[in-house]
Symmetry: D2
Subunit: 482 residues, 4 copies
Amino acid sequence: MTYEVKSLNEECGLFGIWGHADAAKVTYFGLHSLQHRGQEGAGIISNNQGQLLAHRDTGLLSEVFKVPEDLDKLTGSAAIGHVRYATAGEASISNVQPFLYRFTEEQFGLCHNGNLTNAISLKKVLEGQGAIFNASSDTEILMHLIRRSHNPSFMGKVKEALNTVKGGFAYLLMTENKLIAALDPNGFRPLSIGKMKNGAWVVSSETCAFEVIGAEWVRDVKPGELVIIDDSGITFDTYTDETQLAICSMEYVYFARPDSTIHGVNVHTARKRMGAQLAREFQHEADIVVGVPNSSLSAAMGFSEASGLPNEMGLIKNQYSQRTFIQPTQELREQGVRMKLSAVSSVVKGKRVVMVDDSIVRGTTSRRIVQLLKEAGASEVHVAIGSPELKYPCFYGIDIQTRRELISANYTAEEICEIIGADSLTYLSLEGLIDSIGIETNAPNGGLCVAYFDGNFPTPLYDYEEPYLKSLKEKTSFYLEK
Amino acid sequence: MTYEVKSLNEECGLFGIWGHADAAKVTYFGLHSLQHRGQEGAGIISNNQGQLLAHRDTGLLSEVFKVPEDLDKLTGSAAIGHVRYATAGEASISNVQPFLYRFTEEQFGLCHNGNLTNAISLKKVLEGQGAIFNASSDTEILMHLIRRSHNPSFMGKVKEALNTVKGGFAYLLMTENKLIAALDPNGFRPLSIGKMKNGAWVVSSETCAFEVIGAEWVRDVKPGELVIIDDSGITFDTYTDETQLAICSMEYVYFARPDSTIHGVNVHTARKRMGAQLAREFQHEADIVVGVPNSSLSAAMGFSEASGLPNEMGLIKNQYSQRTFIQPTQELREQGVRMKLSAVSSVVKGKRVVMVDDSIVRGTTSRRIVQLLKEAGASEVHVAIGSPELKYPCFYGIDIQTRRELISANYTAEEICEIIGADSLTYLSLEGLIDSIGIETNAPNGGLCVAYFDGNFPTPLYDYEEPYLKSLKEKTSFYLEK
Amino acid sequence: MTYEVKSLNEECGLFGIWGHADAAKVTYFGLHSLQHRGQEGAGIISNNQGQLLAHRDTGLLSEVFKVPEDLDKLTGSAAIGHVRYATAGEASISNVQPFLYRFTEEQFGLCHNGNLTNAISLKKVLEGQGAIFNASSDTEILMHLIRRSHNPSFMGKVKEALNTVKGGFAYLLMTENKLIAALDPNGFRPLSIGKMKNGAWVVSSETCAFEVIGAEWVRDVKPGELVIIDDSGITFDTYTDETQLAICSMEYVYFARPDSTIHGVNVHTARKRMGAQLAREFQHEADIVVGVPNSSLSAAMGFSEASGLPNEMGLIKNQYSQRTFIQPTQELREQGVRMKLSAVSSVVKGKRVVMVDDSIVRGTTSRRIVQLLKEAGASEVHVAIGSPELKYPCFYGIDIQTRRELISANYTAEEICEIIGADSLTYLSLEGLIDSIGIETNAPNGGLCVAYFDGNFPTPLYDYEEPYLKSLKEKTSFYLEK
Amino acid sequence: MTYEVKSLNEECGLFGIWGHADAAKVTYFGLHSLQHRGQEGAGIISNNQGQLLAHRDTGLLSEVFKVPEDLDKLTGSAAIGHVRYATAGEASISNVQPFLYRFTEEQFGLCHNGNLTNAISLKKVLEGQGAIFNASSDTEILMHLIRRSHNPSFMGKVKEALNTVKGGFAYLLMTENKLIAALDPNGFRPLSIGKMKNGAWVVSSETCAFEVIGAEWVRDVKPGELVIIDDSGITFDTYTDETQLAICSMEYVYFARPDSTIHGVNVHTARKRMGAQLAREFQHEADIVVGVPNSSLSAAMGFSEASGLPNEMGLIKNQYSQRTFIQPTQELREQGVRMKLSAVSSVVKGKRVVMVDDSIVRGTTSRRIVQLLKEAGASEVHVAIGSPELKYPCFYGIDIQTRRELISANYTAEEICEIIGADSLTYLSLEGLIDSIGIETNAPNGGLCVAYFDGNFPTPLYDYEEPYLKSLKEKTSFYLEK
């Protein structure tokens, strides 16, 4: 599975640090391990004794920080950084985070992962009061709310602002003398706290960053929590008591790196369990298991172990498949020219293949991979998906806000099986998914948001309520690209 | 394992096509699948009814062909292309292939994979006769020999030239009206013939290119063979009868893509067999198997199946680890900052790990990975290598021409085990390697060149004879970078 | 004289058009002719039936618009554009104009040439009311004032905002259905109106843009005037009656292109008259006149005609002297290596040279040119400057806001003559300057701002009042770089 | 006049130095002052105690040497450099000079200004003997001839090679221990010798480089001369006695920088004399003189002084007119959009203008400038050209090798006057040109090659003889672009 084909994208990765001589450089390496969360923009703001310094641009981290000077100029012992996934057409530099706000009397750096559900309403109200928004993203709203709050204390202003915005969010806010991290009341997005050997505190969207920089995981940020880090250490506060964990289940299924651990559950291990459970729910005869690289390799391992079927490398992903402007013509595509994935004939020829993938969004990718395997000689292709049918959009930070492109919102599993040309199609049950992840919590759905699968959103939808209800009634118009 | 650390590099990948309206574009996609064979330069020469057109530059294929025009200008129905691995300091544009030769009366395109063992002597002789060499590579020598041959026929000139050069070579020569492929008498380098659905003939260093472009494999080029493709079809000829298959065993161990098949043996399958055989030769207790991504994942699968130990994803390779100018300082490195590979604590903590890798060159990478695993909590790390000890250089196209950097030429396995901090170190036996590959042939060593392991070179070494013998006697001066 | 050495820089050039199918392209060509007014950033906003589209970046126009697509995407029949001169350290993309403001209900494009004298105070007040400034320039202030005005009509809001900002300014404001141009009450910065053959209205900082795009000059915008252009044509309004023309005299002396005409006076002709008047005030014997290319060639012509001395090409400016990172070492500089200007020995050898230049800012350039001429064999070098001594800073849009770097604020003409190594030094008298320009007006100083020469600022200085008065008392610390 | 419109281009500029610690850097500055002689490629080869180091690429010098490292790596105390003008389609990197030849036993650097008349024949003969040419330019031929010479001494080989090539050439050859400069037997191309303050010897295509680097002119290289510079100093030799000075007259008219001096004649002064003589030959009434910037400003000065008519700045060249991909559409062009040159209405309105230009090649530029002046209000435009009618091609290094594009080879002066829309057209007489330049010599035509004007070529034309004679008879097919 590749990002290009599936329109299922996380919005961003965050990293912050306080108390390290090479703060910007550590942030760079932290962001480097979060690059899978966003490839369209990156930036770092460092804090040199109250002076904030910024560097950001569109592109991959290695394209944004081209020469050592780009990083060296970001002096100071604290920093926040961001990698950005941007929806089409808005990949402009003015949306790349962290944002740097230079007021006459103070400075702030701000970055954000998630999506607000009342952004449109808030923007209108603020504009009516004279506010000017520079970027098209939601992120600025928080800064406007903080600046306009009449609460006498700065932390009071921040809490008031956090109680005004709704939806899914993890924020990092760098002030002149502290670093603040905040998470929404449902903890939709992951955010963890770590500590480096030299005592520096770090926060990161995923724990894989801690492995990379040699930090030790301390604990995950809780829903509705405020974390304040300054020269005197770390303190914890809350801005609301009405919280209930509902972490995005797709983080476990697809987004997060397998070496990350979220709420005590290692992602690779969760995926193996999903694969094993999927094997138990699977009801067909087969010879070999083939995972779609790279995201489904863990699930394929679990499927293989539970089923006893050998796990084979029947699909190869080209390591050099990034950005190219050269694309096959339609004719070449028909002749079989493909750049990213190829099937290994000598592995799959004559075999009944269980093709393990994590999810089906539009179905186009699945159809192509089934075709690849069949052309390479597979006698049967049984598609096994490590998550339930994706039927509903997400409003908390994943880039599916319309049902039109979700094949499962429009077709039954049987129809989809036929459309993608598979010999059978098995989805993991919702219970199977929840059990496989297995967070230790009393929250409903095992502490997970599974709204994409069952349509039960854990919060009111605010600005999205009406369009969502309308989309449920409306006749969809999904057509598969042939 | 990463290219940057290990100085073990193939020299180049070749692709050629005759008889397709989009010849240059198909060549682009073919080369794209061969990118792992060389990342420092790329080029294509197309043939538009006798007019040869070229585009080449340093860098990855996607950097060389930046805009569609770069490729669109290469019109015509035949083409040859090349991806280049270059030794340090010579990555200049003048060495990037294919070379285009425009004589007053005819034109040629030429590219080459391999290394000549008598290049220095031939160059001196030719210079003494007035020849001027433009590039520092060996490749031009063939063109000088062809042009100076007194043989009356063109194919006679080519054969005379091929009988003069010695060593390992696969050549593609584009003339105004045909495409010629030639392989050295030992077939040190792989070269395969395929056919597209529209009837176009293709040749490629690896069969993975055929999967990508939708071509069918026809057969591999034989040692000492000449393949001539023109508008009337394909014909086969030989320039020598003194041939004996000795294909580079490292192609199976490390270089080739797992989905390629060489002399009837699929590379992934061979690697699984190496892993399985390694498991049989392995004599320690362990809990889990962890392959070093990406090259050793197949061997780890085989080891797991044969040993019954679970195959786990204990090491994660960052998908975005290519080219960056930002490097950790020494201090950060000590704090644990690493960009390319990280160990997954939740997987390896408290476990006795079998770390499966394909080979050890200098030992630095192995030492780092062992350390990674131990820091992540592995209780024991048993290193299992899918090939024998690498003790001797190669003169046929792999970039190890000195024994100084080979740790196995300087230390015993016991010493190396201590140096890399492992709890045990197991190499695959030479017999185990040969059996695992299992080419159907009567040639010695199962049709493989295993000189890096046993020092028995299948040919005289010509210009390298004296320096090689001297290196065997000389006290080596290998020091591990601490 | 070159921009690099002299720190005397205009802040920006403006161009706008309404009613042309190729509006963005015409704007590009208009800006191209204004490139001398700013080389550090450029941008265009087009208006396609109410939808505003933007492209802007740092660098020269040809660097910002690199490929035809950059311009082609700016569809629509109206546009505004800007070339920017930026003070050091703030050459970031976020300051490049025109700014695009996308509110929920409407959009604006805004660009600005000039400098506000009450920007700091206004910013503080606005920030206190919750305003967030994105860029470090003054320009955004106007938009905040417009949006916060309680005036019921849009033009009322604009007028209120224009009456609130103080200093030197020319604004172009693109709304969804009109283009508005506004000039400060003193008309410090030039702004002209023209008409294209197809009927499209254009506004430009200089009339040279009209020559280039084939437009006819209509008239100059008046101090305190508002020009509104929409589909029904052009209308004129005012936002204040307290106006008095005080156009920047340095526009005539140095900034504007010689082919521009400002307030009825052609710049080349004015410079010739300055040169002629300078010749009349000049009291030394000499053989030839040499103008410093390119800005002083007109004055040199006038000097030559009035004095009867031949005008010679004794100094040559390298046409290719733009941006290079290769600079001579100190040692090479001493050996005479110079990249931008060279003296022609065969012209100046043994001659008493009148070196005509337009102004002396820091004196370093003058000293180098005198030295060049002497090394090339000039027997005497008499420096004749086409303007009076530059003693005071400017707060209306020219980049001299400190007296520290003005050599004439620190030394007498006699001392400067010695410092630059000249045989004599003659400045044009203030009366001579005013007469040479000769605008038809009853305003004081012939309608010119000559505050840099006499310290009499035509307006209160607001935020700059205190620092300015302090600078007059304070002992300056001017040191010539040796 | 601009390079883009006129197809009249010099082929290259040369610079060499021996004996300076910053040899490559001085070469850079020398080449910088020769940039007008070629903008399509540049390179430097330095000599560090016998080790030759190269850097070269397509583009302007500032594009080729982008970062200080590009130059810093060229260590050593001697260097040669080259700026290249390339004919269309051959602007590839492989043609950029100096060429670096690395033989097993020695190294050479070679660069060339000029054109050989027997290159095609020589290339064929050499190829028949096995020679392989890498580039499409003539330059390599000399190296092949040197390497194939049987003369026992190296200087003997060089002389033999120089006697074999025919046409116009200036060569710089860097060996491991000396720098050799050579000029053709007619001295078609300029080449001068200078000395730096530290004693280093320099050679340059033009003396303007000496002014820039602070070197003193010593003397010009003579026709048929060989200059050898090494650690023991400079020595002079000849390779032929059959010499006769015939320096390209277009160097004085158009190519060379005005501050250069060639064979004792300063270019600016020569141009002023051409202008003065042109004024004496001119037979019309007029009000003002306007030179076409930049090449005709000197001639306009001379015309003005001799005629008594005022010299005015009626045409302005945009200082920022280099490379842009944005071009006016045909419609915009008709509306008057022009990027490079504009006429100053306030200067030319109602005036009878003498428009002084240096030459007319195709006539398109002249027609446009006449039109510009008329649209700006000039009542009459009298075109005065500072050279005779350009009727014949050049084979010695200027890029006119066909008569088809020369308007004067196809039309009479009267017809051309009408075509370009002028009120009169006056060419300088051939005698006037020769007298105005005035080299002190007894050689025919005052030591000048004036073949473009009278068709009398000073040498046999070899490979060009037949096509030239054919072109004289053939009906030409010149059509002016409307």
